[in-house]
């Protein structure tokens, strides 16, 4: 077959002119927000030297880990252009079911399974209603935010579940070579998430669904199944943070994870994940979660009043969403 117009450039010429590692690193979309994170940290340390102390670094990184694990879950959903507002409530609910199981004398390993199962079931309910019934994710998960939190209150009457075994508590409070337990859990989960999204068929399809649902469906891909699974992933990962909270605070609290969905979504968006779906990286998300954690911690250290803190965090979320719109416009032009 002879080309009729021009020459078909067959071999990808990108390989030959590949810039070196350092340049590629700087050109990565995450580098901008990473730079912002560094500046933020330097600025806070100058203002409040306590920020850079090892003990504070330990506390902040642990806090970031809690948020980032939930954010990882929401990330899958957002990549398909969905949203999950119920993750904060799932954190609370799975912590309580896991805690109650242990309080009833169940072995911690089995109790963890109970917690994971709780997250998976709630996520699956979200997923079924979104994918197969076709209700907008915003409304489904907003309702679930209320229902799951309500269930927590029904189960606990607003109290916390105490009597958590010592072996379980250690995960949340101990450290390995000075690294907090939750951070290690996050590291493992982040690597797994990255591999899943980059090298598995499921991950490829998650991005494809977010990029163009209809075209993906017509390519013979079961879009509903993919979307369903992302809500299950979000539920399961939220339950991990839920149980880490129990370990950390030595009890399952009824209000655990309250409002965490905002931080998690903000971490995704600040990290460059598009709310319209199809764009975003695990690395970006981790940096986004770090930005959120550092700001929250910085505000506390600088003794900004709690009222102002909410206002500032809210403003940052809106700002990040504006940035998302600007970015997607630039991609399209």
């Amino acid at each position: 077959m002879k080309p009729l117009s021009g020459q078909g450039k067959a071999n990808a010429s990108a390989d030959s002119s590949r810039p070196n590692f350092l340049i590629r690193l700087v050109r990565r979309p995450e580098s901008g927000i990473f730079l912002a994170l560094i500046c933020l940290m330097v600025a806070i340390s100058i203002y409040q030297p306590k920020f850079a102390s090892p003990i504070n670094a330990f506390l902040v990184s642990r806090q970031i880990a809690f948020t980032a694990i939930v954010a990882l879950g929401v990330f899958f959903v957002i990549l398909t252009s969905g949203i999950d507002l119920s993750v904060g409530s799932i954190v609370g609910l799975s912590g309580v079911t896991c805690g109650m199981a242990m309080a009833a004398g169940m072995h911690p390993v089995l109790a963890v399974l109970v917690g994971l199962l709780t997250g998976a079931v709630i996520g699956a309910i979200n997923g079924i209603i979104v994918s197969w019934i076709g209700v907008t994710p915003f409304i489904v998960t907003l309702g679930m935010l209320g229902m799951a939190r309500g269930l927590v209150l029904v189960l606990t009457h607003g109290d916390s579940v105490e009597a958590i075994p010592k072996s379980f508590i250690s995960v949340g409070n101990e450290n390995i070579f000075g690294i907090p337990g939750p951070l290690i859990v996050l590291a493992v989960l982040a690597v797994v998430a990255h591999v899943v999204l980059t090298y598995t068929v499921f991950g490829r399809r998650v991005y494809a669904v977010g990029g163009n649902e209809e075209a993906t469906e017509l390519s013979g891909i079961n879009v509903r199944r993919i979307k369903f699974l992302t809500y299950v992933v979000a539920g399961v990962l939220s339950s991990v943070t839920g149980m880490l909270f129990v370990a950390r605070f030595r009890s399952a609290q009824a209000n655990a994870g309250l409002g965490l969905e905002l931080d998690a979504i903000a971490a995704c968006v600040i990290g460059g994940t598009s709310l319209m779906g199809g764009h975003g990286s695990v690395l970006g998300l981790l940096i986004g979660a770090a930005v959120m954690g550092v700001i929250r911690n910085g505000l506390v250290l600088m003794e900004v009043s709690a009222y102002w803190q909410d206002l500032i965090i809210g403003a940052i979320i809106v700002l990040a969403a504006i940035l998302d719109v600007v970015r997607s416009r630039r991609r399209k032009s």
Partner: protein, 496 residues
């Protein structure tokens, strides 16, 4: 005063360092229909955007009645009587025809509130002037494409329009509707309105225009009075070379093996009792008017729509397909007429799009996607179809229409299809790429693929297909072998 109503002189325009218009000239007389011809990416649309004020930054001068003008935005251009009818309609499908007509300059009563009665009256007058029958209160979504087109035209003419730009206005119209549009265009011409007509359909260009101005690579590449023009001359001006005229030449052996047999297939909203057989290596043309149910039939075959009755036999075996995944597993592919919406994941790379339907085949032993396997497949099809890309990793959004179409075809070739359905495979792509697509189709059939080609362009279907199935209102009304099919016989079956 000069003879020209409009003169664009030495227009140059660049986007982030890339020059897309180089010193382009365009003149228009009062009451003249000028065709702006050129391949996709030649700069036609950019030039029109300069004229209509979309692009306010450019070099060169625009003279309107000999006076220099420079529009800062579309509103200013519109106020001076320059209107455009876009290729893709800019209508709100959920609103009535009349509200679309007056969108942006709504009709108000004395109270300052919208006056529906006045609006209805004015809309009726506007449609009557174009001699089209559209109920001003009809919701646009429920109107046919041709009627939507006429609303666009009416909208463009709702001011004292002097220059009307029509960007591929006939691409979605049937022959009859196109002829009606031409009647109206001639009337507008009589009224002294100058029309810039952008089209890839050369027979239409030769029918309706007075003069053809051709562009190539952002420059003027020729101009000819239509009475002196022939299709070959136009093509030569457009591509700067002679086209391979042998599209659709077949070499393969005819086979009698039936790959696909459809029996009494019905499905909502329109498909009724469709039966046909498709042989190995056969190209089946699916002809009919817009809305005859050709695309619906394709979606039904792919399992993207639910059938109510009927059976499907693949290689003689009855096969149930409930979802496109089932169709793909049985090696059936469907390249949609709307490639941006149903064909490509635009933000993804050429590589990711080409391998979209063969994920299970590009895994390594660990079950992870193998970059090596993926690259091999991608390279093979980029080479085979001569897809012009900067590399495998180019984002498909940034490709031209013809190359996007090739990526979609590549995706389906990758499944090594038994049956491939191509829905309007050459819509909106330029003449050169069109010939290539025709050649690809013929090559596929020669290799034994059974191809169904849906097309609204009769000449295309007559040239490409071995056999033509004509549909009308969801039924098959004719099954014509190549020898018996003529424009007349197909058209007759399409309207009865």
């Amino acid at each position: 005063m000069s003879e020209w109503m409009l003169e664009m002189r030495g227009i140059s325009k660049s986007f982030s360092g890339v020059q897309v218009l180089k010193n382009v000239d365009l003149q228009l007389r009062k009451g003249e229909i000028v065709c702006l011809l050129g391949e996709n990416g030649a700069g036609k649309s950019t030039l029109m955007k300069v004229l209509t004020g979309v692009h306010a930054e450019f070099e060169g001068t625009i003279l309107l009645d000999g006076n220099p003008v420079r529009f800062k935005n579309t509103k200013e251009a519109f106020a001076q009587g320059i209107s455009i009818v876009f290729q893709e309609f800019n209508l709100c499908p959920n609103l009535p025809a009349m509200e679309n007509l007056f969108l942006g300059h709504e009709v108000r009563g004395r109270s300052g509130l919208l006056s529906y009665s006045k609006m209805r009256e004015k809309a009726r007058a506007a449609f009557a002037a174009l001699r089209v029958e559209i109920d001003p209160a009809a919701i646009v979504r429920e109107l046919g494409v041709a009627q939507q087109q006429m609303i666009e035209v009416a909208k463009a003419l709702s001011h004292d329009t002097r220059i009307l730009i029509m960007d591929e206005p006939t691409s979605a119209l049937t022959g009859e509707e196109t002829r009606n549009l031409f009647v109206i265009m001639r009337e507008l011409k009589e009224r002294g309105i100058a029309i810039v007509f952008i089209s890839h359909k050369l027979d239409e260009v030769l029918t309706i225009t007075d003069r053809v101005v051709c562009m190539k690579d952002g420059e003027n590449s020729g101009e000819i009075a239509t009475r002196d023009a022939t299709e070959d001359k136009l093509v030569a001006m457009m591509v700067g070379r002679k086209l391979d005229r042998l599209y659709g030449q077949r070499h393969g052996q005819r086979s009698d093996d039936i790959v696909l047999e459809v029996r009494d297939l019905s499905g909502p909203p329109r498909i009724r009792n469709v039966s046909f057989k498709l042989r190995k290596g056969e190209i089946l043309g699916l002809a009919g008017l817009l809305g005859a149910g050709r695309t619906e039939l394709a979606l039904l075959l792919m399992g993207a729509r639910k059938k109510t009755s009927g059976t499907l036999l693949l290689n003689g075996r009855e096969t149930a397909i409930h979802h496109p995944s089932g169709a793909v597993a049985h090696r059936m592919g469907y390249a949609s007429e709307d490639r941006k919406r149903f064909g490509l994941v635009l933000p993804m790379t050429v590589r990711e799009n080409i391998t979209m339907a063969i994920h299970p085949a590009i895994l390594n032993r660990l079950g992870l996607i193998s970059a090596a396997k993926e690259n091999t497949v991608t390279n093979r099809y980029i080479e085979m179809l001569h897809i012009k890309v900067s590399g495998r990793e180019q984002i498909t959004r940034n490709l031209s229409g013809g190359n996007q179409q090739k990526v979609v075809i590549a995706k389906w070739l990758a499944i090594q299809p038994l049956v491939l359905i191509l829905d309007e495979p050459t819509r909106g792509i330029d003449v050169g790429a069109k010939a290539e697509v025709h050649k690809i189709i013929a090559d596929l059939a020669d290799k034994g693929v059974a191809v169904i080609v849906i097309s609204s362009e009769l000449p295309e279907i007559l040239r490409v297909a071995d056999r033509i199935l004509v549909m009308h209102e969801g039924r098959v009304t004719a099954d014509l072998p190549r020898g018996e099919a003529t424009e007349q016989s197909v058209m007759k079956a399409a309207v009865s």
